[in-house]
């Protein structure tokens, strides 16, 4: 059953060194504030999972929190590269980064399998790609394998389930019992929360009653571990109905992320010296 706590307490209780953590948000409702709290609490050796790692994962990677990244597209949306991610892959700074790489369709299905309590999911995908060849080739366990349909004999593709230790998402609202409501582009957040052992949900606001919204996803309180009210917790990304993307932040990140010194200066000023939200 969801407990309503501060963000600092939620991160402290839910996320531990070495955990596999999925901070989801398909370029909308990205849990930036929660990511910064993870950096502030100096978590290490995390396996980070996300379909579209963008600036917050760039920041976590540059801050040295991450050992492995499971993903399908890592970039600064509409701007260009993630330079901390690239520096980690190309020059092992601040540490080497192990990659497990998929397509969006593959990742989405891996979450569906996790949420469904199945060991794998089936799709038409990966045939002929280098991603298929890579799976299991570099000393890690394979996550993509061919599978024969028991009814038609057709060869399809199986992808292994993702079962994170923790899912972290940002939503528009929760009620006082901890039921969570999000709407607009809802991505793969429901699947990520249901696939995970624990979850942290930051919300724009806590309200008395969740009146219905078109197309909303509702996560009942008993599927969520911690709810933390953090207004603006998705900044600089979008939170439909609350705020739009702060595009200047995304554009200016290009120069900050490109330079190790500028980046560490930014971390000190904007993350470490900012008090956690209590």
């Amino acid at each position: 059953m969801a407990e309503i706590v501060s963000l600092a307490e939620a991160v402290e209780r839910a996320i531990h060194d070495g955990d596999a953590v999925a901070m989801e948000g398909f370029t909308h409702l990205i849990p930036f504030a929660a990511g910064h709290e993870v950096i502030r609490q100096r978590r290490r050796n995390l396996t980070l999972i996300r379909m579209t790692p963008d600036l917050i994962y760039d920041q976590l990677i540059g801050a040295g929190c991450v050992r492995k990244l499971i993903f399908s597209w890592g970039g600064n949306p509409g701007v260009g590269s993630l330079h901390r991610f690239r520096d980690a892959v190309e020059h092992s700074w601040p540490a080497a980064l192990e990659l497990e790489e998929h397509s969006h369709a593959g990742m989405a299905n891996r979450y569906v399998a996790g949420a469904s309590g199945l060991p794998f999911a089936v799709l038409r995908g990966y045939n002929g790609t280098g991603l298929e060849t890579l799976s299991g080739a570099l000393g890690s366990a394979p996550t993509i394998k061919p599978i024969t349909c028991p009814f038609t004999g057709e060869t399809l593709t199986a992808v292994s389930a993702i079962r994170p230790d923790v899912a972290v998402i940002h939503a528009q609202r929760a009620d006082r019992s901890g039921n969570v409501q999000l709407w607009g582009i809802t991505g793969v957040q429901k699947e990520a929360v249901l696939a995970s052992q624990r979850s942290v949900v930051t919300v724009e606001e806590i309200v008395d009653e969740l009146d219905p919204r078109p197309g909303a996803v509702v996560l009942p309180a008993w599927t969520v571990s911690y709810v933390a009210p953090v207004a603006g917790g998705a900044h600089p990304s979008y939170a439909l109905g609350y705020s739009v993307r702060d595009n200047d932040y995304y554009v200016s990140w290009d120069a900050i992320g490109r330079d190790r010194e500028a980046f560490t200066g930014w971390l000190d000023e904007h993350v470490y010296s900012v008090a956690g939200q209590l």
Binding site: S72, R124, G130, G184, I185
Partner: protein, 258 residues
Amino acid sequence: MQPEVTYTADEMMTVSAARALRDGMTCFVGIGLPSAAANLARATHAPGLVLIYESGTIGAKPSQLPLSIGDGMLAETADAVVSVPEIFNYWLQPGRIDVGFLGAAQIDKFGNINTTAIGGDYRNPKVRLPGAGGAPEIAASCREVIVVVRQGSRSFVEQVDFITSVGYGSGPGERERLGLTGTGPQKIITDLGVLEPDPRTLEFTMTGLYPGVSASVAKERTGWDLAIATEPEIIAAPTPTELAALRRFQGTRSRSHQ
């Protein structure tokens, strides 16, 4: 006399890509250049074009260029907003979508696309790119694929360093052997002109050039021994209407590249 219209190579490319989309088509739109072209098509000759973004927005009708696929404007103007597993499983995978509109960092003569890594080996690449995103299954499952990419000798290569998304693989018969349901890339639209697969070899051939672009420049800016059609089509310059619509879109986007 018509007044002379001036335009950039990128504008010509975007206009040319927009013209490749027909009214009433369903189009799975990649980010960057493809998104600009698809929106231009919808604003000009193809008002009934159905724009589908991998963020789950089906029939989006943005009035300005979205900054990213997560733009709230896409959700607010869409006919339907679905989850990410649903957009890939129910909508893309069964082959419901007419055309996949993709970008590329590196592309080869068989239209295979690399958006993963360039140079070195996979573990120690010279340049790490963003990765696959939705492209592998878009390239596999849409009825046809159009690629929009600037032409250069380092990006147009004999063989891509990494196959992120399959075009024609190693040549005729390979898509069928791999069980890919769509017909594969039908056009590569660049800042010099248009390439189409040779019907026999499936190797991409320059079949159209923009006004003022010579065959020799196209060859220079291609990393394989590019074949040029005997009589390449000279593609019409952007009309004032097309340019005005494109510039109106570009002007409403604060800043973005690719």
